[in-house]
């Protein structure tokens, strides 16, 4: 329950961030402009709207996750608000988890708004919605897990380094994580067993963002398999749990100066 209170306070805190509204505004603009773009691409209208729209959710969601995530813990330490809080009967892990869940809730709200915008654009284009449009929600679900992962990374880095460095690390992993599949591919091609071993290790160690991306098939309204979604969700949960575990261990040993 304490976690819930910390989370709700974190939510209150994050909805006060101006950067949140700027990013949300950009995302909505991008979704709106997809309507304009679709005008000039005959026959591809729907695909463009879904593709651009979902990309906007992923991209701007990631930015929100990083920009707010890196400040979550850092700010509390920097402004010394953490002093009076941690002196109260809460465990440090409760604090971290509360912070994390609070930002996830913020992200959930934002993703919901952006998703609603995509549906509004589709509705405008097709003068109605069809059942097949429900597929978009699967893509959104996976994007949400992608964001959950990014948030956990930002939180982990911010539990021991400055916001700027945390942003850099998280962003770096986010980029690498999108080329993760290529890494495995490269490992298979190379002759050297050392390099291929290294690639394997990195492949499993680094986050694999490819697991969360079903934007293309969904844009074509191709069905997605439940097993793919399920596996991705399980992967996301496991990875988040590990990263949060690391954050907790780091945070548990911190001295607040």
């Amino acid at each position: 329950m304490k976690i819930g209170h910390i989370a709700s306070n974190t939510f209150k805190e994050s909805v006060r961030e101006k950067v949140l509204y700027n990013l949300l505004l950009f995302a909505l603009l991008m979704i709106a402009s997809s309507l304009v773009l679709s005008e000039i691409s005959i026959g591809q209208e729907r695909k463009i709207i879904i593709d651009l729209g979902l990309s906007a959710v992923s991209l701007f969601g990631t930015m929100i996750a990083i920009f707010i995530g890196i400040g979550l813990v850092y700010k509390e330490i920097d402004k010394r608000t953490i002093y009076s809080l941690l002196a109260k009967p809460i465990h440090r892990w409760e604090f971290i988890l509360g912070k994390y869940l609070g930002l996830l809730f913020t992200l959930l709200v934002n993703v919901a708004v952006m998703t609603a915008a995509i549906y509004a654009a589709l509705f405008y284009l097709e003068r109605g919605l069809q059942w097949s449009h429900g597929l978009i929600l699967w893509a959104v679900l996976l994007i949400f897990f992608e964001l959950a992962l990014t948030t956990s990374l930002a939180l982990m880095f911010s539990s021991f380094s400055t916001p700027l460095l945390s942003a850099a690390f998280t962003f770096f992993l986010w980029i690498i994580g999108h080329f993760n599949a290529d890494l495995k591919h490269f490992g298979n091609l190379t002759e050297s067993s050392f390099v291929s071993g290294l690639c394997d290790v990195l492949y499993y160690l680094l986050p694999n963002y490819g697991n969360f991306n079903i934007i293309q098939p969904v844009a074509h309204l191709e069905p997605v398999t439940a097993s793919f979604v399920g596996t991705s969700v399980a992967y996301g949960l496991l990875y988040v749990a590990l990263v949060l575990g690391c954050s907790l261990i780091i945070f548990q040993h911190r001295n607040f100066k």
């Binding site: 329950m1 304490k2 209170h5 910390i6 306070n9 209150k12 805190e13 006060r16 402004k79 010394r80 608000t81 953490i82 002093y83 009076s84 809080l85 941690l86 002196a87 109260k88 009967p89 809460i90 465990h91 040993h253 001295n255 607040f256 100066k257």
Partner: protein, 325 residues
């Protein structure tokens, strides 16, 4: 019952990345505080008072040594449900209003909504910021923040209260209010452990004090034992005394200063004061104040610091901090 017990508490801070020798902020500090005491924790800037409190609050981990609160090790989170803590120059979530902040604190302790509302309202009034309860903390003055800090420390009716310089940033009225709050808490049987620089407050409140210098305990005990409380002289202030009497007064005094119409006189004892009062009356003057001058904590403090500095000029074993490092 020993409510607070520190045993050989030591804290080293690593300064700089490459520096091998750490800076020792606390050096084998041992202390015991009994139930119901108001315990003053004194020392000059950088003595290690805040460090000690932060260790007790689990914000810092000691390098070695251990501590107990209410006979439980400080690592036991359940202890923290029964204590209150006011950090040094507190700063809280500035986007919350005073009321929201206190409610948040109350909920962290697991109180239900009605209970939280009652406690919040009571405390806001008790610390004198009931009017500002709907104002975001961003708009609070330093003194108001200090007061809301006191309030949040009291939200759970703690058994032990840890206050890090509770009077700093408060105006005289605020200081009196905090003093009253501390006394009220004592009446309820609460043990109060507070650090301070403001010696008159310490003198008027504390049952016992500990004096810390450079991380080491210099002295600990009843104020009356530490200080010889004898009155060394009396200070008398009067105005508008007619000239003949005023010169007589000046002659009587150990030390006299004249500031415009005002006379500041140091008198040796009660007898001389009696005489002076008569002179003031005769000279149609007005008595403003008479204050006993004692060996004050201040005097003691300075003496103790000097001694301990002399005993240990170089901080055995650890490097002394150079300016700017």
């Amino acid at each position: 019952m020993k409510v607070i017990e520190l045993r050989d508490l030591t804290k080293d801070f690593q300064i700089g990345f490459f520096r091998k020798k750490p800076f020792r902020a606390l050096d084998h500090l041992c202390l015991e505080v009994e139930e119901g005491e108001i315990f003053g924790f004194l020392g000059p800037n950088g003595a290690g008072k805040t460090t000690t409190l932060k260790i007790l609050m689990r914000l810092l981990y000691p390098t070695s040594g251990s501590a107990w609160i209410l006979e439980r090790p400080i690592s036991d989170v359940s202890v923290h449900a029964r204590i209150g803590y006011l950090p040094e120059s507190p700063y809280f979530y500035d986007y919350l209003t005073g009321e929201e902040f206190l409610s948040y604190c109350g909920r962290i302790f697991g109180f239900g909504p009605r209970e939280v509302r009652r406690r919040t309202a009571d405390l806001l009034d008790a610390v004198g910021i009931g009017d500002a309860r709907l104002l975001p903390l961003r708009k609070y003055s330093k003194g108001m923040l200090q007061r809301i800090g006191v309030a949040q420390a009291l939200i759970n009716d703690p058994r032990v209260l840890f206050l890090d310089e509770p009077m700093s940033g408060l105006d005289p009225l605020g200081r009196r209010e905090v003093r009253e709050i501390i006394l009220q808490q004592r009446q309820r049987g609460v043990t109060v452990f507070f650090s301070s620089h403001i010696l008159p407050d310490v003198e008027s409140l504390c049952d016992r004090v500990a004096i810390l210098n450079r991380g080491r305990l210099v002295d600990c005990g009843k104020l009356t034992d530490i200080l010889r409380m004898e009155i060394t002289s009396l200070e008398l202030v009067a105005t508008n005394v007619a000239p003949p009497q005023s010169t007589q007064l000046e002659r009587l005094a150990l030390q006299a200063n004249r500031l415009g119409e005002r006379l500041h006189l140091r008198m040796a004892d009660d007898g001389v004061v009696e005489q002076s009062l008569r002179l003031i009356r005769e000279g149609k003057g007005k008595l403003i104040s008479i204050n006993p001058v004692r060996e004050s904590l201040e005097d003691y403090f300075l003496k103790a610091m000097d001694q301990s500095d002399a005993r240990d000029p170089g901080q055995g074993g650890t490097e002394k901090r150079e300016a700017g490092s």
